[in-house]
Amino acid sequence: MKCSSQTFHLDSAEKAAMELEAQRKDDLGFPLCILVIGKTGVGKSATINSIFGESKTAVNAFEPSTTRVKEIIGKIDGVKVKVFDTPGLRNSLKDQPKNRKILSSVKKLMKKSPPDVILYVDRLDTQSDNVNDLPLLKLVTSYLGSSMWRKSILAFTHATSVPPDGPDGYPLSCEVFIAQQSEGVQQLIRELLGLNDDSMIPISLVENHPFAKKNENGETLLHNGESWRSNLLFLCYSIKTLSEVNIQNPLEQRKFVDLQIRSQLPTRPVFESHDWDRDIDYDGVLIEDKLEIAGCFPAVISVQLAKDKRECNFQLHSSFLTARIMELLARTRNFLTSLKAKPKSERIKQRLVYP
């Protein structure tokens, strides 16, 4: 009995879908909007070209090819898809103002036409120093809101690159390699959001190299033989559908407190860990900024303000600055002592020689 009622539902659903499809001639009316962000040179534009199956935006391995946020519209299997290509973010301290500009224009764009999915792109094969990415991820989260990770996918390019040798001298298996590389970024994001469980952001592997192995449909294959493009599109549609139906995904189990902070600087709420209380509320605000003192000394200034405005903590971290100041003071001291040490007659002599 149960079995037949299920098939009945499937049949009627299929019928309804085919009727709808016949009515709308070309446009299935399910627009998908994707925002693509990430560091410079990781393959954002190349991934967009691969998704559409044609060259929609310029790529260049050696120089940034995307200089402004670009809106790219196309159709994938009859579905209208809109993708926002953004200029790459940079890791060096000096480029933070550029990053801020890019992120604030992305933020404006998100307000105007909020994306269904955010693709955070990075390379699979250059993760060894990814701890350097934490400041960048913090900046991104502070501009786009921590709720952005609810609809994000981590896209790792160069996915068919051969894994490096493991400690025993033999190459690592692809699964181990992919798991370890992606886990690095996942951990950074968990640290950022203050999560200490195993929640994960969905991952998509990407391969844009023209010579990578393809199947008979011309779709590029990963090491496991799957077409990455179909997987990625499926993931995007799933995220969109889930968010529309408002199903809670694991990251939703904690409430995201997005403070409406009108602040130019990266600000984030500070949580005291209450193990007995699932309801997390913020306890204060931490404003952090990296600056360059005198144009060359990196420093981090942080201000922590408690919620009741009773406590305020200012901190300036700069090991470099202290070292330089100590050097400068030592120089001055040496110069002064050298002056004192010279006997009077010598000093007079010097004055005569160099009038």
């Binding site: 060894s128 350097n132 190299h209």
Partner: protein, 302 residues
Amino acid sequence: MAGQLVKEWAGIQQFPVATQEKLVDLLAKLKNQNADTLTILVMGKGGVGKSSTINSIIGERVVTVSAFQSETPRPVMVSRSRAGFTLNIIDTPGLVEGGYVNDQVFDSIKRFLMTKTIDVLLYVDRLDAYRVDDLDKQVVKAITDSFGKEIWHKAMVVLTHAQLSPPDALTYEELFSKRSESLLKCVRQGARISKKDVQNFAIPVALVENSGRCNKNEHDEKILPTGTPWIPNVVHAITDIALNGHGGILVDQKVIHPFNPSIPKHNVMPFLAFVLQYFFVIKPIQKQIKYDVSRETIPSWA
């Protein structure tokens, strides 16, 4: 230095015969020119393949390598001798941390190199990291500031991960040329080598592939996609630099402490810094906060 037993360069035996012959020839060339030790300093950002390259050249796993953890924690010197010739290679930690150049690493490297002479500097980066950014320039600048501009007379660039398929429909030669040129341009800018001076600073670029799946030729030598066996190629470039007429860089007190700060017994500076901060920073801020609080009309959050 006297009395220190240096290990025999056993690793040379595990190379294929063709490679061994070439290496022995190069060592003989050095000995002929009365150079019986060679000290090579290997530097670069984290995760580029410094330790792997050293392991490949020595022919045994002398330095631990992990593709995932942050790399070598402190500078380490590996010494091997063969037929009266001693090879010293110094592995260093990555020079970049958290978006800027790590000064503490530089200090630890300089302290480690005290009284040693650098004959050759290997500046290592990846062939497949196509972008050059401000961070690279800062690394080069820091190296130049630490050891002096003369170090670039004794330097070469090593590009790892050489076995790859070029992007953007470039040929391998085009890729190598573009990548070398952009990295060399960055080095010239960071080291402040003027356009006129460029021919005086001929910095060679060599390719390296450290993984076990490196392709091999008919003599079982590890080769690049161009067909060149890369280990003799790199060692050849190193010997050319060693014998190029410019003196090695001696790391002495002058290099490490250019201003010679001697910390006196009664250090008045921290106290002075605190006093100044208290009067000129803390007090005014406290006054402002009090003023702000007195003017507060909006109820606090909750």
